[in-house]
Subunit: 105 residues, 2 copies
């Protein structure tokens, strides 16, 4: 990870698996989700502040815990994103979303 290659979603999942898989297996989905939610809360808190470095660190934590959760669930994030968003907005099918303003997203 010391290199400057752009990080892929697969590399992220692999890095997090190497770092935490031993603990992930013990925690399981429920326990991992609880930690994930704690990080979501910390992100919310950081977004209320103006410290950009702190915000970035919290985004990293949420992303790492999402990768952990995907590892425990056996989901490939690259494939999942590609399938849902790779050919356009899931709502309208366009690369630049044209869904009605009142609807998500």
């Amino acid at each position: 990870m010391a290199d400057s290659q752009p990080m892929t979603l697969a590399a992220l999942q692999s890095l997090i698996a190497t770092m935490y898989s031993r603990k992930d297996e013990v925690r399981g989905i429920d326990g991992t989700f609880m930690w994930f939610m704690e990080e979501i809360g910390e992100l919310a808190s950081a977004l209320r502040d103006s410290d950009r470095a702190a915000q970035a660190a919290e985004f990293a934590d949420v992303l790492a815990w999402l990768a952990t959760l995907a590892n425990v669930a056996g989901v490939d994030l690259d494939q999942a994103v590609r399938e849902k968003y790779g050919t356009g907005c899931p709502g309208c099918g366009q690369m630049i979303c044209r869904c009605d303003e009142s609807t998500k997203p």
Copy 2:
């Protein structure tokens, strides 16, 4: 996105920015966070079920909304993850986490 190149975090943020930045700017951080949380809830629900394809789709949504939130906050996810996890676990500094079992992570 029709190619089979591994998706980078930068490409994910760029894809989501292209697709949704017009709406993101209107929603701002608070409004975006609300939608993000809705997706977190849907992921929790999917994880209770055994439908792997539905789980993958919800992971994709959470990741997409996290990318949107990072776009609105002006945070580079690649850089953020690299800085926090690129040289080891933030807790113990090891590539294979050796933090005490009772602590996160």
